[in-house]
């Protein structure tokens, strides 16, 4: 009887493994099929190679740009701006949320303004930021932060407000002051929410930074896209797109890993 169960278990594990391998094979074949058909279509002139480029050319360009070091410079500039943007956005947003939690009066006063700011496409403020902060890193980082700060404020403030009253009651009966209530109850109770906004903000900051680079910069992956577009070098445009896709994924996964680690500690 016992043997039978362990046998069944082995079978079950085997089945799961096969399924996983199948999924990976399918995923890889989609990737290969995509690049292969792109290469072929372009070579056979089914699509215009000038506009759509082809993987082999992009690859060659990639090697070239790695060798002369320019890709690394552009990528690191953009990466720096994005990280700075999303950290600033999250920290400032959480800070504003704390102020709103602190003063219900202020939160009611500011409510309509927050609604307007939240509805507004922050990208539209780009030109004003550039005029205000000058064409450079600071306005691009500001763009990356601005795009996430309002939504962070709203989400985190909501989480602050929804902390179970009874937890606050517990510390209040011990005579806790408002700062004590905040640091010992509200902040730790909402840490999971704050971390999950971090995840959303990574994506938002990429949008802000790339658009910011479109508008002003002389460096960065957004700049590479605009430059490639202007000189009609679509190899460059597509190379930048692929690099952005990879970096954004890595960053998102990194934040997710951080989230999982912190959550594990919290539990």
């Amino acid at each position: 009887m016992k043997k039978k169960i362990s046998e069944l278990h082995e079978q079950y594990k085997h089945k799961k493994r096969i399924e996983k391998i199948k999924i990976i094979i399918c995923q890889l074949s989609i990737l290969i099929f995509f690049f292969a058909s792109w290469e072929i279509a372009s070579r056979m002139r089914w699509i215009d190679p000038l506009l759509f480029s082809m993987p082999s050319r992009v690859w060659n360009l990639f090697l070239e740009k790695i060798q002369d070091g320019s890709l690394l410079t552009h990528a690191s500039v953009t990466l720096f701006e994005t990280i700075a943007g999303f950290i600033l956005g999250t920290v400032i947003g959480t800070f504003i949320a704390a102020i709103l939690w602190w003063s219900p009066f202020l939160s009611r006063v500011l409510d309509p303004y927050l609604v307007v700011l939240n509805s507004m496409p922050k990208i539209a403020l780009g030109p004003i930021l550039i005029v205000g902060l000058g064409p450079g890193y600071s306005s691009i980082i500001a763009m990356g932060a601005l795009i996430s700060v309002i939504i962070t404020t709203l989400v985190v403030y909501n989480a602050f407000k929804n902390v179970d009253e009874n937890y606050l009651k517990v510390v209040q009966t011990f005579g806790a002051t408002k700062p004590q209530s905040f640091t010992s109850v509200v902040l730790p109770a909402t840490l999971p929410t704050i971390i999950s906004t971090l995840k959303v903000n990574v994506g938002l900051s990429w949008v802000g930074v790339i658009v910011g680079e479109f508008l002003v910069s002389k460096q960065g992956l957004g700049y590479m896209i605009i430059y490639g577009f202007q000189v009609f070098n679509f190899n460059l445009v597509i190379l930048s797109l692929l690099v952005i896709a990879v970096l954004a994924t890595v960053m998102y996964q990194g934040v997710e890993l951080l989230e999982r680690k912190l959550m594990k500690q919290l539990q």
């Binding site: 517990v170 009966t173 005579g175 806790a176 109850v185």
Partner: protein, 258 residues
Amino acid sequence: MSIVKINNVDKTFFTKKAATTALKDISLSIEDGEFVSLIGPSGCGKTTLLSLIAGLFQPTNGEINIEGQQILRPSPKTGYMLQQDYLFPWLTIEQNITLGLKTMKKLNETTRENALSLLDKMGLLDKRRDYPSQLSGGMRQRVALVRMLATEPSLLLLDEPFSALDYQTKLKLEDLVSLTLKEQKKTAILVTHDIGEAIAMSDRIILLSARPGTIHQVFDVPEVLRQLAPFKARNHSEYNKLFQHIWKELESLEEENI
């Protein structure tokens, strides 16, 4: 000597639509070391009265004194225990039981040792490094009891602390709480909707009527029952007599409201 003095207390809550009087003309004094239960139909302001004594908010009229001092804010002399344990899930058991001391800036080696020895008395010392989610409901409520006792309050306010537990755990915990409080000579006020619990645990039972909450009647628990542990008290003949008596009173109150 009376430790708690409540003089002509009213409490009215204001909303945009109405002013609701939750408590009206409550006067009560509680002796040192006494265990008093508040019972009554739902909505009679039991919990409101407890929150007022805890200083979580202020009465509309009248005043509340604890050891001769008027209560204007939560005082370190009172400890409060809620329906559910409300242990902080992100803190270990040890951090949870020292939370009060830390908040009051009284955490040092002596007070920590004291808190841990209380935990030991509850048979939970080996759980000190665990998190609340790893403990059962009864264990968690025992930890909440330690958290309250760790700050050495002289007056304990218990807001239906056993209502979320299963019956067996509840009976066991009643005995444990009763014994611990007697040992430490604490004064306690228990809010409950369980007549049996009130009789088994207390020296005096105060029946409140609803809307607005007023003191309807006060029952003294017979001396024989007071001497017994709650579980044994529940089996005594006097227990049933008092139970029937209070039950009828409570029924008559609830009929008025239906």
